[in-house]
């Protein structure tokens, strides 16, 4: 059966995350390349203070994901398919061979800056647990208006969905969701209403930046965020990366697609275990691990064993 590398999105970061990467020449190389593009030491991105900025968070996640994938590949442990959640999708694009890491760093820096500037106050994101997409979409459509916009932002698992928009609208959806039987509703510590049409301006600017970069056709299967499809050529991946910020992340579908395509080993590359835990819950007969927590050596053994099955 096959192996997926999965890359987490915002929320998984924690202070010191880049310093906790394994000691390996590929990690050093990745930090060095990123520092060169950024014009500053990339290792400064992961202090507690630095991570208050979404730019630093996104860059740190990109660097961490790519560094870990490079380490595994150096040890001859390659994936059959890759996907990332939101910003994680840029790491996946790099690892698939579609996007150069150097280009990814400058793209993600721009993406972070644009997002930071987009909605200074009153907007954000919230999570609803216990209702499925069909039910949450009924509620967001009911509440959504020009003055009170709210949309589905991420479908993480079949019953864990984040919404984005104006805080007042999010609260209205929460109230309806609770009366419909949701177990939990919570405002997230994010000031940007990501992954909905409120960010279409950001999406356009990323697209014009991407137009100046040449992408390659991927050498490993890449699953996009917007429609949870395998994307086989540079143009489709390019479009998915720029559209992503203004479209729902269909992570539940992306993970399911990989599982249905035969993935029985999901390896999360980055800090935390958010995606690992989601996959564990949904795919009982798949093995789901974090490369950092399980260690590079045992990750490599598991990858090679899985690919021989």
């Amino acid at each position: 059966m096959s192996v997926a590398f999965i890359f987490p999105g915002q929320g998984s970061q924690h202070p010191n995350m880049l310093h906790e990467l394994p000691k390996h020449p590929e990690v050093d190389r990745t930090i060095k390349e990123a520092s060169y593009v950024l014009g500053r030491d990339a290792l400064e991105l992961d202090t507690k203070d630095a991570l208050l900025s979404t730019v630093a968070v996104q860059l740190a996640l990109l660097i961490s994901g790519v560094a870990l994938a490079r380490v595994l590949r150096y040890e001859d442990a390659a994936p059959d398919i890759v996907a990332g959640h939101s910003i994680g999708s840029f790491s996946a694009a790099v690892v698939s061979g579609a996007l150069d890491f150097v280009d990814a760093v400058s793209l993600v820096e721009l993406r972070g800056k644009l997002m930071e500037q987009s909605y200074p106050k009153d907007y954000g994101m919230g999570v609803i647990v216990g209702l499925d997409e069909m039910r949450v979409s009924i509620l967001t459509e009911q509440v959504n208006s020009v003055n009170d916009p709210v949309y589905i932002a991420n479908i993480n698992t079949y019953d864990q969905i984040t919404i984005a928009g104006r805080l007042s609208a999010i609260e209205k959806v929460f109230a309806l969701a609770s009366s419909m039987g949701a177990h939990k509703t919570k405002i997230l510590n994010v000031s940007v209403p990501s992954h909905c049409e409120l960010l279409s301006g950001v999406s356009k600017e990323i697209a014009s930046k991407l137009a100046a970069i040449s992408l390659n056709n991927p050498n490993t299967l890449f699953v996009g965020n917007c429609r949870a499809r395998v994307l086989r050529n540079a143009e489709d991946i390019c479009k998915d990366l720029s559209d992503g910020v203004a479209n729902t992340v269909r992570w539940h579908d992306s993970a399911t697609l990989m599982y249905e395509r035969g993935v029985r080993l999901f390896i999360e590359l980055g800090p935390g275990e958010t995606l690992t835990n989601m996959a564990k819950k949904e795919f009982k007969d798949a093995r789901c691990i974090s490369a950092l927590n399980s260690g590079i050596e045992s990750s490599c053994i598991l990858i090679k064993r899985e690919r021989e099955k």
């Binding site: 499925d132 177990h183 949870a228 697609l257 249905e260 395509r261 035969g262």
Partner: protein
């Protein structure tokens, strides 16, 4: 009348299919040894034998998979073999859909796609797969003999001999049906086998129906799908099982039946030797079964409840037990089970008194569905068995018991029983205003909403609250009231009132446990004849050999 004018072309050949087959087979003569295709030549052989646009039946159901042949088909050159019309009862393995991405196949007729239901929905939306129809099993098997007759059949067997005779053993399933449809209309039958042998334990498919055999690199894929661990049976399942036994099986004198694979039905199987025995029902109900060899049926068989079981397929681990009980199971001269999916579906639809199943959603009229948004899982066999075959003539007590009218011309009804808890896991109500299936059907542009069991076929619904005898309802409104009365605190359930419930109870349209003399406090796990897989092994005298994933030792 001048017949020669009516026959449009006197030079027409009546043997085009036969000639085509001969041409295709001639192409592989250098590759094959008699009827045997060498394992490492299979891809080459398929490229020669299959023509673009051919109708190909690839054996794959929810248990047995022709996995070696499906992976070989996924390796053919799409420039040589393309635009195939696939006919498959189950889309289970990744390569079943990979062949559509590569252009090897284009058109698909199928029944069930549970394990690939997201990709199925996506690929239909993207136009990568064109669907002929989504069938129930019997419709698909039937259509093999009408307008979906295969040019090529790719099937799986345990063993073959040099003459191409096949031994399919306990897992015969749908192999004979596919092979018959293909072989007798000049299609090419290719069977993967786990081994070639000089002497077969028995012949399940005669060699003259088979063109080629190929030894696979590893045994065909086989899933244990019908094993339910008794540890997971809850007291709520037991309560519902007790109600079903008293309020339905006993009341309507159910002799023959099919069970779904839920924990509710597993509970019933394990209550027969204990609770059923205490009611004096042994020998009076549940004697003849159309059912896979459920391990949870072992205690009922061992304690003398069961006269016969005919099986759709086998079940991993049950081989020795079944072979040791030939009075009960259909077995061959070699002693092992003979299953047959098509025949058992016919039996389950037409010949049994009752079908007992479960569902994820039910609307106020008893229509039920298991679909989720963005997924297309198809049907399988539940709609065949979960329906009343209107042409049935043979009467039985249970069937006649469903007659409610006064007219001089009356027919009985098969009992279609749905057992559901009012809430699914995750607090999702089972009873809903409108089925998700309606939106799913619209999104996927299906001609009809993918309803699993139609409400007008449902005679009984059992929940933890009670039983609704829907067949007794006078009209649609009363059906809805009866369902609401047992729908607990779901939105539908809240529509009911104490007065309404009382009236429905008095009219016998619903019954609560106390009406059936079932005490809620009696519903204990200690009532189960087996409380673990180990217990089932003990009941079987060590003959049942559970697969590793079910073993606790």
């Amino acid at each position: 009348m001048d017949i020669s004018k009516l026959t449009n072309d006197s030079r027409r050949s009546w043997t085009t299919r036969r000639e085509k087959k001969a041409r295709q087979i001639a192409k592989v003569q250098k590759l094959v040894n008699g009827q045997v295709i060498p394992t490492d030549k299979i891809v080459e052989a398929l490229e020669a034998l299959i023509m673009p646009g051919d109708c190909v039946a690839l054996e794959g159901n929810n248990q047995k998979q022709a996995s070696f042949l499906s992976s070989a088909l996924n390796q053919v050159n799409p420039d040589k073999v393309n635009n195939l019309h696939m006919v498959m009862s189950s889309i289970s393995r990744p390569e079943h859909l990979d062949i559509f991405e590569k252009g090897i196949a284009k058109l698909l007729d199928f029944s069930f796609a549970g394990p690939q239901s997201l990709r199925m929905a996506q690929m239909i939306e993207d136009g990568t797969v064109t669907v002929g129809s989504i069938h129930t099993y019997l419709e698909l098997y039937g259509r093999l003999f009408v307008d979906l007759t295969p040019n090529i059949a790719l099937v799986a067997a345990d063993k073959a001999d040099a003459q191409g005779n096949l031994y399919t053993g306990p897992n015969t399933e749908e192999t004979p049906t596919i092979v018959e449809a293909t072989a007798f209309r000049d299609g090419i039958v290719i069977a993967q086998v786990n081994e070639l042998t000089d002497e077969l334990p028995r012949v399940d498919i005669p060699g003259s129906w088979v063109d080629f055999v190929v030894v696979s690199d590893k045994p065909y894929q086989l899933e244990a799908l019908f094993t339910r661990d008794p540890r997971q049976i809850s007291e709520m399942h037991i309560l519902m099982g007790m109600m079903a036994i008293r309020g339905i099986y006993e009341r309507h004198n159910i002799q023959s039946l099919n069970h779904g694979v839920g924990f509710n039905t597993a509970a019933i199987e394990l209550l027969l030797p204990t609770y059923g025995e205490s009611l004096g029902l042994k020998g009076r109900i549940c004697k003849n079964w159309a059912l896979n060899p459920h391990p949870t049926l072992i205690p009922a068989i061992e304690s003398g409840w069961v006269d016969s079981v005919h099986c759709f397929g086998g079940e991993v681990g049950m081989e020795k037990y079944v072979a040791a009980r030939p009075d009960i199971f259909f077995t061959g001269k070699d002693g092992s089970l003979r299953s047959n999916r098509a025949m058992c579906q016919v039996a389950g639809q037409y010949a049994v008194d009752a079908f007992v199943g479960s569902t994820l959603q039910m609307d106020a009229y008893g229509n039920s569905s298991t679909v989720t948004l963005g997924r297309l899982a198809g049907y399988g066999g539940a709609p065949n068995m979960g329906s009343d075959p209107h042409g049935r003539r043979h009467s039985s007590d249970a069937w006649l018991n469903m007659i409610t009218g006064e007219s001089e011309i009356q027919r009985g009804k098969k009992l279609v029983i749905q057992m559901v808890e009012t809430f699914q896991q995750g607090n999702k109500p089972v009873f809903v205003e409108s089925l998700d299936a309606i939106k799913v059907g619209q999104d996927a542009k299906l001609p009809i909403a993918p309803v699993m069991v139609y409400g007008d076929d449902v005679t009984h619904v059992v929940t933890e609250e009670g039983i609704a005898y829907l067949y007794k309802a006078q009209n649609e409104e009363e059906r809805k009231q009866a369902l609401a009365a047992i729908a607990g605190v779901t939105p539908l359930g809240k529509e009911s009132t104490a007065d309404l419930k009382q009236r429905l109870r008095e009219n016998g349209v619903i019954a609560f446990p106390e009406d059936l003399k079932v005490k809620r406090t009696d519903a204990k796990r200690s009532l189960l004849a087996a409380r673990s897989i180990d217990d089932l092994v003990d009941w079987s005298g060590g003959l049942y050999e559970p697969p590793a994933k079910f073993r606790s030792w």
